[in-house]
Amino acid sequence: MANTRELTCIVCPKGCPMKVTLEGKEILTIEGFTCPRGKQYAIDECTHPMRTLTSTVRTSGGGVVAVKTDRAIPKELMFDCMQVINKTVATLPVRVGDVLVSNLLDTGANLIVTANQE
């Protein structure tokens, strides 16, 4: 029995509404995407949802600095990754792109700095 899933694409602010028909886990059709990234999002969302995680980490200066995963991570690992992020301390100075944690929880994604701080 085929079933359909309605998705809102999160790749860009257009937020295209998409419709995916599935037979079990197999994707039969995808409608509504307007770019290749949107199509890939629909495939990922129906097989293994992924999200880019952004947060802050503590710095050696006593404040915080913004960070992100440099690629999307499995959605269900967001809170586990947050635990690692909350234990990470960045030693100042930091520059945009500095890697703080490589291969975060074996996701293949690195935790990188997204703002400069002296």
Binding site: V11, C12, G15, T52, S55, G63, V64, K68, T114, A115
Partner: protein, 413 residues
Amino acid sequence: MKQIDLVIIGGGPAGMSAALAAYEQGVTNLLILERDSRLGGILRQCIHNGFGLHRFGEELTGPEYAWRYEEKVLEKKIPYLLDTMVLDISPEKVITATNTSLGVFQIQAKAVILAMGCRERPAGALALAGDRPSGIFSAGTAQKYVNMKSYLPGKNVVILGSGDIGLIMARRMTLEGAKVHAVCELMPYSGGLARNIEQCLNDFGIPLKLSHTVVKIHGKGRLEGVTIAKVDENRRPIPESFEYIPCDTLLLSVGLIPENELSKTAQVELSPITNGATVDQNRQTSTEGIFACGNVLHVHDLVDYVSEEAEIAGNAAAAYLRGALQSNLHIPLSTDGKIRYTVPQTITEEKEITVYFRVSDIFRNATVKVLDGDRVIYSRKKQKVAPGEMESILLKPVQFAGAKALKFTLEVE
């Protein structure tokens, strides 16, 4: 008094883009005045991703997007003053500002670009019944606390208003260990982007209660809870639907207002609809040589469009300084109400022009028509238009040549 060709008020994405564009056009005697201690504006606290896809073809966080521009400002050695508050701009373009090293000082500018951004509609603008305990924040204030100061404002949160900042903060507070009980939206639709409802609310099972509002604040000293209610079609609370939610934090995401106090001192004409200046296609205001761009002009959904608009203003300011700014027409643009406003509000030059506009409600199968009297000069069908999504159309000189005035209308089937 110091003489400077071009002074840019505000060092956020609009101010930096405008300065860079003007510099590229040969304006080297210029200065950015910024009240914060760093360049970057509000992007510095918008640590989430989703910026720059339109501009750079990649997904950046707010600070990364800001850095792309700050890096160029530094590289070109464009002068800027930080921690500097502009107090007054006269119609003659005398700028009065203050900072701790220069005291109060004045600059005579030949051209000015207003790029002050916007501020959030505050709690005081809502008629909320009950006391005023601590624990009520605008979403942007909470964003600053969490992302820049590392304070979590509370553990149990209700959010009123479904603007993008509220949605982003619902996710952010959840990731930091708070429980977001509900997002209440007075209107039957969200003012935020569809993607943010998906990734900020649905991902975390946070309910979006449309046609709901907060009717009472509970607690003295600290917020203890809120009473929410469903509203009828006239947006009046339905008593039978009252529901008490215990919480220690209420975030407000109920709209943004362009910050135009300085525009008023410069006697720039403001639009009662956008709360920003009325401008022509060059983003020149009613005062010659004063330009406006970014969220101080009208609130944008995407920073990418802010940068685009700021470049128009920067280029035009440079042309103005060269004495090359064309202005040989005067075509006012009006709207029918379903289309709330357009930017620009006038066309003064025969060249290709992108007109941005917003609608007043969600309309399906609507046709955007631009009329010159009875003559339709532009017509385009749209599957769906919504107040939360800025629309734009491109007009060519052949389409508006000879027109006295243009009216933007939306025909709904």
